[in-house]
């Protein structure tokens, strides 16, 4: 029986904007299991990124609890949250968030330099098919290539958790598949618990479980009997 890596109970998140309050999450109970490949879908504005940020320790819920194994993230200090991100979480952001003044390789090194057992930056970039673009700056890469650098950066630390916010959003089909293959491989080979946000319905076929968010709450949860390999996904 796989253990949950992440557990949330009654998580709400309210954004205060002056007098207006936006309730982005309204009581989410959710688990991410060991080695699981989870896909998170839902309409724009349904709260996917908000939930992902909370899971990754980038944000705190307004109410409710989040546990990483035995550690209660909602009670962790900022310092502990940083350690959590540094040692356990690999992020792929919707907007790549690369350092513009660093090359592809250096952007990956930024992470490998501070983690315990990373893979070499060159190897991580080779995994995403960028072995020829090591010394290029973000401004010299296409949007898709930038996203692949972001993927390399996330997996290079061999994280326990891989959180991906629309990793293929800006990519064409071919580079999208490359990215998905890498994520799948990390999930399979390293047993990394993986959560992927996507608007591409076909990608759900890769998942072992698909969770749908609607208006800040979990609307539907579905288990896939058989997972499709990334190479067979078409959109």
């Amino acid at each position: 029986m796989p253990e949950p890596v992440l557990t949330t109970r009654g998580v709400t998140r309210i954004y205060e904007m002056g007098e207006i309050q936006v309730q982005a999450l309204r009581g989410v109970d959710f688990e991410l299991m060991e080695s699981e490949f989870l896909v998170l879908v839902g309409a724009s504005g349904s709260g996917k990124s908000t939930l992902m940020n909370i899971l990754g320790g980038l944000d705190r819920p307004t109410d409710g609890t989040v546990h990483f194994r035995d550690q209660e993230l909602t009670r962790a200090s900022d310092r502990e949250l940083t350690e959590y991100r540094r040692n356990h979480v690999g992020f792929i952001f919707q907007f790549y968030n690369l350092m513009p003044s660093l090359t592809a390789r250096e952007n990956v090194s930024l992470v490998t330099e501070i983690t315990r057992d990373p893979m070499p930056a060159d190897e991580a970039l080779a995994l995403v098919g960028l072995e020829h673009r090591l010394d290029h700056f973000p401004s010299q890469l296409s949007g898709g290539e930038q996203q692949r650098v972001a993927v390399a950066r996330a997996i290079a630390k061999r994280p326990e958790l891989l959180l991906c916010d629309e990793p293929t959003g800006a990519l064409d089909y071919r580079s999208g598949v490359v990215v998905l293959e890498v994520i799948e491989r990390v999930n399979r080979e390293l047993g990394t618990a993986t959560a992927v946000i996507t608007h591409n319905a076909p990608i759900s076929a890769m998942a072992s479980r698909v969770v749908t968010l609607h208006d800040g709450a979990i609307d539907e949860e579905r288990h896939n009997e058989a997972r499709a390999p990334a190479s067979e996904i078409r959109w």
Partner: protein, 792 residues
């Protein structure tokens, strides 16, 4: 494995390279602030040190006295006055030197030298040549400033009228002494004179017979024991010398040369304490502002680093290095520049004062303080901004800043919107949306304008003072001094000379004015009832009437002695019937130059128990006839001196105003650098902040010109709204500075010239235009795709 910097350090190096222009200008602001601070501080303290060493090494006396004549044995009695350590007696006589060319012969003070020239006090510094021979009555040393002015060299022979007889004197050498740093003619002159005042040092045994002063002295220099009370020593010496016609001993503070030197150093002190602090403060404020904005731009990068698992401390260190990189570069440059300029300025002033010893010292405290203040302000600025970003959760910091809520600005609501068009509206809204930032930018620019104004203030003050004093208050262009009281008839004779438009007499006498134990030697000036040439002006340029009765004194004199209108003061007279008298003070006037008393001539004549006599003639004459008048008057018996106003003004300018010119130049330079640095950085940060908006506008089809208009319009408005408060702040700072300095000799009126205001505005406008061009170039190269492709 070869050494390679961490990825974060690489980012640091590249980021610094990427903002090279900004980095350099910020460094320059720091450098200008620090070096301005150091230059003035180090110059002042080095000059003070050099003066003290000069005084010490050449044994400058503490107390000075003159008398009619006393036998040498009186010296012993002065030595036994409590507090007196050493007494040096001299013979001091006045003479005239006949120089080729000009009609008037310069005045000379002849001082006796002990055998071998080695005076125990007020030692003479032989600059070149040799000492006069023992017992020689026709050899002398000549004061170097006079020699330089008249191009007299060692070995030359001068004709000197001593005790009524013309003698040829061989100049064996050129010399000076601590008592003649400023050559002040005797008789309470206000302005040093290196042209018509000379000092000759002669061997005492050779000189005494000429003046029948064998075995006697008429001048004393005294050194006090450390800790002795000057007041008591002065009283003791006066007591001993009283029967010998003692004219009252004075301390160092009133020794004429030192009095002027103190005034000049006081002015330097004011500039070296208040002004550098203003500069440093402004530089610090600007650094704080610029760095906090620069850091604000790094918002998403800070958030991303945090998201990747970097601790706040690591991120903080990264940006600390970035800030320190800029600050340290500026500090090093500032210290080096400060040292260099400080040394140059010390040399300049040292030569100006004629100090034989010049010690330049900067120490480590001032540089450290400068670096800590400027650097600290920069680091604090960067870190306030950083702390705000770090306080956000990474998720929040990474998300774009919430779209701004724009609303119509005041001018638009007043209906001006339609006048300015859509671009103008964008400018107004952008400025109105962030009133705090707009305000701070404007304040920064205003401060920059203000220090440019401050830099030029003292020069303006000096020019105003000269204009008012020498041209408005005095309307004569030649002053004739008579050797003694002269019948008024002489004025009518002068008035009849060719070219003379108007002449009137004046009676001037020097009195010592007492208030309690404080006193000052003060010229009393008596004006004829129908005086037309002299006017009484106060510092605001207002005309004041001469008193109907009693004495109107300089306000400063009232302050120093603690006397006010209505008081009666005790004075000792030196002319007429010597003795004491009481004067009634009937008013004060806030004069800018000197300390004196003004009264009716008839009243002064009565006070001195004399008939209607004058001691000076004021002459208004066609400038072309001045030389002829001088030549003619110098042949009159009883004429002591003929002085033209232009020569006087020229001397004043050389002595006091020129000293300010160098300072003004340096301050203006630094202020301009600071101003330009601020304007440029403001503009650059604005570009970075609005890059995306502007790129989007371009994509929407706006031309380069149009988007430049938006940004440059913002800059222009900020600069324009900064100008009036900038000038106002500059004026306030000058008022403040003027309040902190208070030499007795003159006061600095805060009258800023239109040129100064114009210059300050021009500096800012030039800096703004240059920045605008750079920004324009930057905008023309705006990489539309690149900017829009990478989010924030």
């Amino acid at each position: 494995m070869r050494f390679s910097p961490s990825a974060l350090d690489r980012k640091l190096i590249r980021d610094l390279k990427g903002m090279l222009g900004q980095g350099i200008t910020i460094s320059l602001v720091v450098a200008a602030g620090i070096s301005g601070f150091l230059t003035l501080r180090a110059t002042y303290s080095s000059l003070l040190e050099s003066r003290d060493q000069y005084y010490e090494e050449y044994r400058f006396g503490d107390v000075f006295a003159q008398l009619d004549r006393a036998p040498e044995s009186v010296a012993e009695r002065m030595e036994s006055v409590p507090g007196v350590a050493l007494v040096h007696t001299r013979v001091a006589e006045s003479a005239r030197i006949l120089m080729e060319g000009p009609a008037q012969s310069p005045q000379a003070l002849i001082l006796s030298l002990p055998p071998g020239g080695d005076a125990p006090l007020n030692q003479v510094l032989l600059r070149e040549g040799r000492w006069p021979g023992a017992g020689e009555s026709d050899e002398a040393l000549l004061l170097d400033t006079f020699a330089e002015r008249w191009e007299v060299a060692a070995g030359d022979t001068l004709g000197v009228v001593m005790n009524g007889a013309l003698r040829s004197v061989r100049i064996t050498g050129l010399a000076t002494s601590p008592e003649f740093i400023y050559p002040m003619p005797p008789g309470g002159a206000l302005i040093p004179d290196d042209e018509r005042f000379a000092v000759l040092w002669m061997d005492r045994r050779g000189m005494a017979p000429i003046f029948r002063m064998e075995g006697a002295f008429n001048d004393v220099v005294v050194r006090m024991n450390p800790g002795a009370l000057e007041r008591e020593v002065l009283a003791g010496i006066d007591g001993v010398l009283e029967p010998y016609g003692g004219r009252g001993a004075v301390g160092r503070d009133l020794q004429p040369s030192n009095f002027i030197l103190d005034g000049e150093l006081e002015q330097l002190r004011q500039f070296s304490t208040v002004v550098p602090i203003i500069f440093l403060g402004v530089a610090a404020f600007l650094l704080n502002m610029v760095l906090s904005r620069l850091l604000h731009l790094q918002r998403t990068q800070v958030a991303a680093l945090k998201a990747l698992g970097y601790h706040d401390s690591e991120v903080g260190l990264h940006y600390l290095k970035m800030t320190l990189g800029v600050v340290i570069a500026g500090s090093v440059l500032g210290v080096v520049l400060g040292w260099y300029l400080g040394r140059a300025m010390t040399l300049f002033y040292g030569n100006f004062f004629g100090f034989p010893i010049l010690e330049f010292r900067m120490g480590w405290r001032a540089p450290l303080a400068g670096i800590l203040i400027a650097g600290g302000a920069g680091v604090i600025g960067a870190f306030t901004a950083l702390r705000k970003i770090l306080a956000l959760s990474p998720a929040e910091a990474m998300s774009p800043e919430p779209p701004a809520r724009y609303r119509p600005t005041l001018p638009e609501r007043m209906g001006l919107g339609r006048l300015v068009g859509p671009m103008g509206r964008m400018v107004l809204r952008e400025l109105g949306r962030r009133p705090l930032r707009t305000g701070l930018s404007a304040l920064g620019i205003a401060l920059a304008i203000a220090i440019v104004v401050v830099g030029r203030f003292s020069e303006d003050a000096m020019n105003y003072l000269m204009e008012e004093q020498f041209y408005r208050a005095w309307r004569e262009n030649v002053t004739v001094a008579f050797a003694g009281p002269t019948p008024e008839r002489a004025i009518r004779e002068i008035a009849a000379l060719p070219g003379v438009a108007h002449a009137e007499g004046m009676r001037v006498t020097s009195v010592r004015m007492y208030a309690g134990h404080r006193w000052r030697d003060v010229p009393l000036q008596g004006y004829p009832d129908e005086a037309r040439l002299r006017q009484l002006l106060d510092a605001d340029g207002r005309l004041r009437p001469f008193p109907d009765e009693g004495v109107v004194i300089t306000e400063k004199l009232g302050e120093v002695l603690g006397i006010a209108p209505g008081d009666s003061v005790r004075v000792t007279l030196r002319e007429g019937r010597p003795g004491e008298a009481t004067l009634r003070i009937t008013g004060t006037v806030d004069e800018m130059l000197g300390m004196q008393g003004h009264m009716r001539m008839s009243e002064l004549n009565a006070l001195l128990a004399e008939g209607p006599v004058v001691s000076q003639a004021l002459v208004q004459i066609d400038p072309r006839d001045v030389d002829a008048l001088e030549a003619r008057l110098m042949e009159w018996p009883g004429v002591l001196d003929v002085a033209s106003r232009d020569a006087l003004v020229e001397r004043f300018r050389e002595q006091s105003a020129e000293m300010l010119t160098v300072m003004t130049l340096i301050l203006t330079l630094f202020a301009s650098v600071i101003a330009a640095g601020v304007v440029y950085n403001n503009a650059r940060v604005a570009v970075s902040m609005r890059e995306r908006d502007l790129a989007s506008l371009r994509v929407l089809g706006f031309s380069r010109r149009e988007i430049s208009t938006v940004l440059l319009g913002e800059m222009g408005v900020q600069v324009l709204i900064a100008i009036p408060p900038g000038l106002w702040i500059g004026h306030r700072l000058c008022v403040w500075i003027a309040g902190t300095v208070d030499p007795e000799r003159y006061r600095l009126p805060v009258v800023l010239s239109a040129e100064t205001y114009g210059f300050a505005v021009s500096v800012i406008l030039v800096a703004a235009t240059a920045s605008a061009l750079l920004v324009r170039r930057k905008l023309d190269r705006l990489d539309l795709i690149g900017v829009l492709k990478t989010r924030e």
